[in-house]
């Protein structure tokens, strides 16, 4: 194996990892703020990809409207998901809302199958691919676009979380729901916003995945929510920075693993990582007190 191949695999891993990180951020925000796990995340990613596909189809190949469109549409989807899967069950045992999200993800998948068709939709030449060479490293502008978008979204998210009124409310709810309610925060509305933020990040990630693989299809989300969850376990599910780190780690592990074995083992590495993580450190590495494992 040449070092050039290794470096390109590392670069691919970093790029894919950045997308995983975005989805994992969404999962961490949802679990942190709503307090329940989600199985719909992969399907939300798929929906985001399809929406940007239609934006590109009818509005021309401009990246920013595509990302914005899927961001807004999945934000609304997040509100619907909250109303259907979480709002009634905030005080119920967690398996009820978990199963509700499974039902909703089946619903979304089949809606996509019916309305968008089972075949792959091509998202060709959204941006013209140009390769840049920095010494031994070759980077395409698609990869730069993905890394840049993820970075910008993460910066916006951290700004929202630390500096704005909304963000402080979100943090308060994620730390202690009852105390937040006592000081006059509308917990349900805040939880809905948290869920929407998580879903919207996943939608933006869907656009990026569509651009990266140049296609979208209804079953593309199947393993993504598991991978996002795997990434989030690194920080005990609720820690946002650790979830991002976990996403990038998973992306790199997968691509390096493929470089040493074959591409059909791709999912094996992330699931292996998930199982090892849950066996040895289910509470994650984040310092913060997390959900009881």
């Amino acid at each position: 194996m040449t070092s050039a191949y290794f470096i390109s695999q590392l670069m691919n891993g970093l790029c894919l990892g950045a997308i995983y990180a975005l989805i994992a951020l969404g999962v961490a925000v949802i679990i942190g703020i709503v307090g329940f796990a989600t199985f719909t995340q992969g399907e939300v990613v798929m929906m985001g990809a399809y929406i940007s596909f239609y934006v590109f189809l009818y509005g021309g190949n401009h990246v920013i409207p595509g990302i914005l469109g899927s961001f807004i549409a999945t934000w609304v989807l997040g509100m619907i998901i909250y109303k259907i899967c979480y709002a009634r069950f905030l005080d119920a045992p967690e398996h009820i809302s978990l199963i509700c999200t499974i039902g909703f993800s089946m619903l979304l998948k089949n809606i996509a199958l019916i309305f968008f068709g089972a075949d792959k939709k091509p998202m060709l030449n959204v941006i013209k691919s140009i390769n840049y060479h920095f010494g031994p490293i070759t980077v395409s502008n698609v990869q730069l676009l993905i890394l840049g978008t993820v970075l910008i979204l993460v910066l916006i998210l951290s700004f929202v979380f630390t500096k704005t009124d909304w963000g402080i409310r979100l943090k308060a709810v994620s730390q202690n729901r009852e105390a937040a309610a006592l000081i006059g925060i509308d917990v349900e509305k805040t939880a809905m916003i948290g869920n929407s933020i998580g879903c919207a990040l996943a939608g933006a990630a869907g656009t990026l995945i569509g651009i990266y693989y140049q296609s979208c299809y209804p079953t593309m989300g199947a393993t993504l929510s598991m991978k996002a969850f795997t990434s989030a376990t690194l920080g005990g599910l609720t820690s946002v920075p650790f979830a991002a780190l976990g996403g990038i780690l998973i992306g790199i592990i997968e691509n390096i693993g493929i470089a040493f074995s074959s591409a059909s083992f791709r999912d094996m590495f992330s699931f292996g990582f998930l199982i090892l993580m849950l066996i040895f450190k289910p509470t994650g590495f984040a310092r913060k007190r997390s959900v009881r494992a």
């Binding site: 329940f36 796990a37 259907i84 899967c85 009634r88 069950f89 005080d91 119920a92 045992p93 967690e94 398996h95 009820i96 809302s97 978990l98 199963i99 509700c100 499974i102 039902g103 909703f104 089946m106 619903l107 089949n110 809606i111 199958l113 019916i114 199947a222 393993t223 598991m226 969850f229 795997t230 376990t233 599910l237 074959s262 059909s264 083992f265 999912d267 094996m268 699931f271 292996g272 998930l274 199982i275 849950l278 066996i279 289910p282 959900v291 009881r292 494992a293």
Partner: protein
Amino acid sequence: MMEINMIKKYLLKYGTAMLLFLLPLIVSKSIMTVVCSIAGYFIIAGALNSINGYSGQMCFGIAGFYCVGAYTMAILMNTFHISFWIALLPSGIMAAFAGMLVALPTLKLRGMFMAMLTIGFSEVMRMICLNWTSVTGGTMGIKGIKAPLFFGIKTSGASRYYYIYLVTALLFIFCTNRVIHSRIGRAWMAIREDDMAARSLGVSINLYKILNFMYGAFWAGIAGALLAPYKTYIDSSYFTLDEGFNILSMVIIGGQGTLAGPMVGVVIYQLLVEGLRFTGVWRYIGCAVLIIAMMWLRPQGMVGDSDSVLAGNKTVRTGSNLLSNLHWKTPGPIRKLIISVLY
């Protein structure tokens, strides 16, 4: 009065049994394939129910055990040329062993962590079967698994293979009924309602959790082992996560924590899928909506236990609650009917 009730009960019981045994003579072959899939799904849904419903652990990866059982059967029959009847038990034991492997690390996990671990396990199992080409045939799967001979009678085809399914399903009901009314079953239910209280009353939680997983996995393996000769061909696409979720939703719709629950759920689900066949792909939307509606209206399922954590009640740690939950409360009309048929 008692006499009449007894006679009615026996009539219902043996009438149903007769009907079940004579079913292939009455209905057409296409209906028999539906009945066969109902029976097959009933075993696996019941197996999942004995994990999720009775001990309250969240196993979402039942397809993994299903996969282990089916592949063990297929390999034993095709590569080692072992008779179906002898290979049945090892398939179940193999799956039970896999169940133990999953149960050991999940002892300290709960809720969604456990759900994720079992999902991960299920997918890893499927991927091993997909990629270990020399043993499992990889993407080609295993072809030409012959239906077994029963004293020289071929059992191929839905209307004959149905009897194998029927006998296994009855055996499953009998075994599970005995187990859940024994000390083991009560320990499982105690763990489901409040594991801390159960532990303080002297229930060895770890042992019973492992036993529970092994028991469920065993029957899931048997269900998989029955699937292989019935379909005559298996590959990894039978054991995807979606299949696991389908089985889970059957259990949920019917009701966790009761023997009748998975049966009702499987029948409803299969009838819905088959009955809405004319609507094409829309029928799966029907199933998804049914799951969500079930969670909204009756989280414990059609015939589920109404006063348990499964019904959305939070446990109150008072002890009296725990004890009262260990008994079966007065069943509703559907449950009463099914119970009278079953026992």
